[in-house]
């Protein structure tokens, strides 16, 4: 078992906030609470009751903050250990000082995810749930949260069960021909086995495609706004943010550093990168910004190539176009409120385009939809029909399974021995089982007996 010590951590995000919560779990939680918390009324701490009082440093006698405290006695707590939560005023300093005080009383700073780990080790949640919980904690937007909740709920398991079902079926067909050579199991229909394996492969492929989406939902994507000075890049960012944060001026070249903001676009966490306007320049500082922009292009998940629709496509636009390379690009033609004067070069004929006006807001919704669709393939993200893998462990297991299924296909085509075919299927099944923790003891035999008339 793990060492039964007491851990503590700040459970609310760091930074400014209305309240901050400190969580303490372990046998020391109760004694620490009794030492540092002075209730307004006398008496002990009852489990699952809120108490109002002050947090006091017992060494100096100083009052750190007024706070609410709740004590949850084992096993009726998240970790199934004695657990104390202290709600104090938000703000980095207050919360940090309170945590320091708790740590000085003998608690240890919790490792990331350690409360959940204890919940798992103490049997409150299983492994897949534990992983999903950690995703819930880390999810940045509602869509990611829905995904994590669906993984807990078993939609993922359902999809995997469908893949397993195909593999077990194919394996039963192969095994029947190995173990019952004298029975009338008919000749081996490679077509059927091939079809089943093909369906399994497609299922795995879909799940793996969902992995990048799952990752997208959990970790977000980066979108770079690139364009020459004064085409309205910062205005676009601000429009998307719906508040003014980047400096917006009409003097070219004011945004020199890269500004990064996280925007929620249709449930997708997007890191928007606003860059120095790219122009041919002699200004040393600005040159640096330009270089940075051009360098960022290949690293971004999506590039919004912004041009001024009211002016002709010029050599500066061309310079950016040259730097795009193979990046995923949406052409954003700003200033649709002015008469159009631009004529795009043939190289951009195939590129997705949208005309917007940061001044009137025209086309902005369309652009938001295009950004979202670029990552989520137009699927609904309300989670109902959306299953995505978000764990690297799941992905690895499925990639392994995919490898075995592919090898099975090759072996089938090459006409290798049945026992080798069976093995690839078994390996694939085992890899798939690693996601859900399932084993396949008698399943294959059950299927053989139900399908074939075996017996002498």
């Amino acid at each position: 078992m793990y060492v039964q010590d007491t851990i503590a951590a700040i459970s609310t995000p760091l930074g400014e906030g209305g309240i901050g919560v400190i969580r303490v779990s372990g046998p020391g939680a109760g004694p620490i609470a009794a030492t540092i918390f002075r209730k307004k009324r006398d008496g002990g701490l009852l489990s699952h009751r809120f108490y109002y009082g002050e947090v006091v440093d017992p060494g100096s006698g100083d009052t750190l903050d007024e706070a609410l405290l709740v004590m949850m006695r084992a096993p009726r707590s998240y970790t199934r250990e004695d657990l104390v939560e202290i709600q104090c005023h938000g703000g980095y300093l207050v919360v940090q000082r309170l945590l320091d005080l708790v740590l000085r009383q003998g608690a240890r700073l919790a490792e990331p995810g350690e409360f959940t780990k204890r919940a798992f080790l103490n049997g409150r949640i299983d492994l897949v749930q534990a992983e999903a919980v950690i995703d819930v904690i880390r999810s940045k937007t509602d869509a990611a949260l829905t995904l994590a909740q669906h993984q807990r709920g078993g939609l993922l398991s359902e999809r995997i069960a469908a893949v397993r079902e195909r593999l077990v079926h194919a394996l039963a067909l192969v095994e029947a021909h190995i173990d019952f050579p004298e029975e009338e199991v008919g000749s081996l229909t490679t077509a059927e086995i091939g079809r089943l394996a093909g369906e399994a492969a497609t299922g795995i492929e879909n799940l793996l495609a969902g992995f990048s989406e799952g990752k997208v939902l959990r970790e977000g994507v980066s979108v770079l706004i690139a364009g020459k000075p004064n085409v309205g890049k910062s205005s676009l960012l601000n429009t998307l943010l719906r508040e003014k944060r980047a400096i917006v001026t009409s003097v070219p070249g004011t945004t020199r550093d890269i500004i990064e903001e996280v925007v929620n676009i249709g449930g997708l966490p997007v890191r928007m990168l606003d860059t120095a306007g790219v122009r041919e320049t002699d200004d040393i500082v600005e040159q640096e910004g330009v270089r940075l922009t051009l360098e960022r292009i290949p690293q971004a998940d999506l590039v919004l190539f912004m041009v001024d629709g009211s002016r002709p496509f010029d050599s500066e636009d061309r310079m950016i176009m040259a730097a795009l390379g193979p990046a995923r690009v949406i052409m954003v033609q700003n200033k649709s409120d002015l008469p159009a004067a631009i004529e795009l070069p043939v190289e951009l004929a195939e590129t997705e385009k949208v005309a917007i006006s940061t001044l009137t807001g025209a086309g902005i919704e369309r652009l938001r939809a295009m950004i979202r669709d670029a990552f989520l393939h137009g699927r609904a993200v309300d989670g109902r029909e959306f299953v995505a893998l978000s764990r690297a462990r799941h992905r690895d297991a499925l990639v392994k399974a995919q490898g075995f299924v592919a090898r099975f296909g090759d072996s089938l085509a090459a006409g290798v021995g049945l026992e080798l075919l069976a093995w690839e299927l078994r390996e694939a099944l085992q890899a798939v089982g690693e996601v859900t923790g399932e084993t396949t003891p008698d399943e294959v035999l059950d299927l053989i007996f139900s399908r074939f008339c075996i017996g002498k």
Partner: protein, 624 residues
Amino acid sequence: MIVYDKKYDVIVVGAGHAGCEAALAASRMGCATLLLTINLDAIALMSCNPAIGGLAKGHLVKEIDALGGEMARNIDATGIQFRILNTRKGPAVRASRAQADKQLYRLRMKRVLENQDNLHLKQAEVTGLRVEEGRVAGVDTKAGVRFAAETVILTTGTFMRGLIHIGLTNYPGGRAGDLPSIGLSDQLRELGFEVGRLKTGTPARLDGRTIDFGRLEPQYGDDPPLPFSFSTPRIDQPQVPCHIAYTNEKSHEIIRGGLDRSPLYAGIIEGIGPRYCPSIEDKVVRFPDKERHQTFIEPEGRETVEVYPSGLSTSLPIDVQWAFYRSIEGLERVEIMRPAYAIEYDYVDPIQLHASLETKLIRNLYHAGQINGTSGYEEAAGQGLLAGINAALRVRGKEPLVLGRSEAYLGVMIDDLVTLGTREPYRMFTSRAEYRLLLREDNADLRLREHGHAVGLLPEEEYRRFLEKREMIGAEFERIRQVKILPSGADPAFLEEFGLVGMQNAMTLEQLLRRPDVGYAELARIDGESREVPAQVAEQVEIQVKYQGYIDRQLEQVERSRKLESARIPEGFDYLVIAGLTAEVREKLHKFRPDTLGQASRIPGVTPAAITVISIALKARGAR
């Protein structure tokens, strides 16, 4: 009770396929052994089909032989048709099968037992065990004689509370023509064992003189017949064919018409039957679309007209049997010599055993064969052999022989039984072995001879020959890695045939052998020494070279699971106090009581996460 004045090291109860191997193993290992049977004329009797081997079963027989058991030699001496199955599939799933001359088989085994030192054979029905302080001390018999022993092995087959069904008629019997064993299973229940009920069945025996074989398709054995035993040089006795016949729509109608008098469908039979060996009425009901069912008409011996129609077992009433068998083409005039019947019997769920086959409840008591819920002569013999070995090792105060799942089908079978128990008759299938590519018939000696020798079952002469073979295989490997074929020096016709014209570099024989179209026969054409390699050696080298990639992958898997397999869970380990296990897993572990983490991981519903938790708990326990 009259107490017999000799105390035995090992008493074996039952002289079927399990009992014979157990008694031979114990006595050959030097233990004073007593074999008790209800009927001395029914030793090693094949109560059902007159055949040994088949898929996975052939593997078991070869393993029994490698360890020093008798079954392979017995069938080699009395077999009347030998075939290798799955010859067109890979070496791992090829298996030997043989028809036996049933009477010769039993007589030869009886003779071997009679010629064995340290072994007494007595006819007696065991009615109870003597148990003293949780340890077995001997057996009581119906005739009022008490035999004392250090260890007891129960191999009761279908005899404990055996009940024979023919239609709605039923009567007690251990097998058609034999008395049941009454009292023993009641005592086992009283001692605390969980005793269950299983069912099996056998077809009628038909009079061959009333079958028109000219209208049936003959099926001949291999020529030359290949023996089971690594010690049998060749099969000399004459060989005979089987014949294939089919049921038809009319047969199925007759069967459907008799279902109201089937004890199975009338709900009289409560025991669970084997799904892989269903009765013909079961097949007709479950697969109504199938127009015909195949049967092999197997000879019961060369000196008898009795034949065995495989796949046509039934418990339907005798009048339905008459009509049904006669509806088959070629069998229109057939006479039944012995009716088909079903039999229910008591078994003891093998989950109550250690991997040594010793019961967890009573020390020095071992169970083997159908009492453990298995079916099949080979499964029984394998368990009997290991129970005999382990009882003898116990007498000597030594650790038991437990074979791993990566070592032998015997290991897979026993691990399945003691880890998961069984609710239906358990039969071996190759698909049960996760390391199937390693567990081949051809390498059973390489896998197990050392064990056989270590426990003292393998005669020195056999062992010496085995070492020789192993050495030759090693040397041959060396040789084919060294010897190179030069582009310039090779026969142009050979190069042409195998698409090697224009090859730039020299190729070793091993590289050549790796090609799917090249075997030792081909090597022999361009390399004189390859011609001299004994067939058994060439076979091993060829298989290992051709399947090296796969074999290496399996060995890796074995290595990965070794840690789990070797992590022992102490007896009496309390799962209920381990935090982190779900109630379901906790309950399962509490019930199954696995001996190792490996066993625990094979219990359905026990997740990898649970295994992690237990392994942490085990470590914590070790640290305290």
